[in-house]
């Protein structure tokens, strides 16, 4: 299987090191990123019409934020082959959820904003570029089964 990742060895190392520092805050990061995505990009609410409460910090947002960051954590562990590692998640997003892939970039941006505000000293420009590339690679892997 072709690995389309463009992450260098240094990128992967940077991501893994940073993730080790922040992973215990995974649930909080996911909740904040999702909360703010729904506020800052209201068009994303269209995917959650089945939730009773879309406000920041609501129960469904907290739960789903944790789910999403759990997926990101899985991607870190499988960083050497994201296409294979995220296969079932890709099928889920392609066939069941059918999230327009442009939204991956939107959520990634919100994750980066949360990382900046929660970890201002650690989220240096070098970490920022590695994480941005990593989240883009995750988005590509998730988009693979779309068509």
């Amino acid at each position: 299987m072709t690995n389309i990742s463009t992450l260098s060895a240094k990128d992967k190392e940077t991501v893994k090191t940073f993730w080790a520092k922040i992973s215990s805050s995974g649930d909080a990061i996911g909740a904040d990123a999702l909360s703010r995505m729904l506020v800052v990009y209201p068009q994303t609410k269209t995917y959650f019409s089945h939730w009773k409460d879309l406000s920041p910090g609501s129960a469904p947002v907290l739960k789903h934020g944790a789910t999403v960051m759990g997926g990101v954590g899985e991607a870190v562990a499988k960083i050497d082959d994201l296409s294979a590692g995220l296969l079932s998640l890709s099928e889920l997003h392609a066939f069941t959820l059918r999230v327009d892939p442009s939204n991956f970039k939107v959520l990634s941006h919100n994750i980066l904003v949360v990382l900046a505000l929660m970890f201002p000293t650690d989220f240096t420009p070098e970490v920022h570029v590695a994480m941005d590339k990593f989240l883009a690679a995750v988005a590509r892997a998730l988009s693979e089964k779309y068509r």
Partner: protein, 147 residues
């Protein structure tokens, strides 16, 4: 015409009254040059941009970062007509500097991330939304005179 809520107006004035232009401007521009290295194409005369450390310590980058944020202040002071306020700046970026306007979004994202890291938890989803709305209006105004 752009409609601003009282909250949005107050938020933008508040953010720009609190941030240190000498810190935020340079940090946003250097982050942009590091995270999106192709943006370096516009800064051929700035000397050493070979790596993140060089960019962060480059005095021309720092000086220009300050110029950019001082330019943003014009919009902060004229929120009800950013389009006219930025007419000459738009012509400058289009005809003289010949900047691909998609790059404005890249710098805007870096500004959001730097301001978020400065404000921490005070950069709530609502404050974040107001800030991105402001930057979106700025970017649209800068794009206006391109043809």
């Amino acid at each position: 015409m752009v409609k601003w809520t009282d909250f949005e107006r107050a938020t933008i004035q508040d953010i720009f009254s609190k941030i240190d232009y000498g810190v935020v401007g340079p940090a946003a521009l250097s982050r942009c040059l590091i995270v999106y290295p192709w943006t370096q194409r516009y800064f051929g005369g700035f000397g050493n941009l070979y790596n993140a450390a060089a960019i962060t310590s480059n005095p021309k980058v720092a000086a220009h970062g300050k110029v950019v944020i001082e330019g943003l202040e014009k919009a902060v002071k004229n929120m009800d007509d950013i389009k006219s306020t930025y007419k000459d700046l738009s012509v400058l970026h289009s005809e003289k500097l010949q900047v691909d306007p998609d790059n404005f979004n890249l710098l805007a994202d870096c500004l959001t991330i730097v301001v978020a890291s400065q404000m921490g938890a005070a950069f709530t989803p609502q404050v974040h939304a107001a800030f991105q709305k402001f930057l979106a209006v700025v970017v649209a105004s800068l794009r206006k005179q391109y043809y």
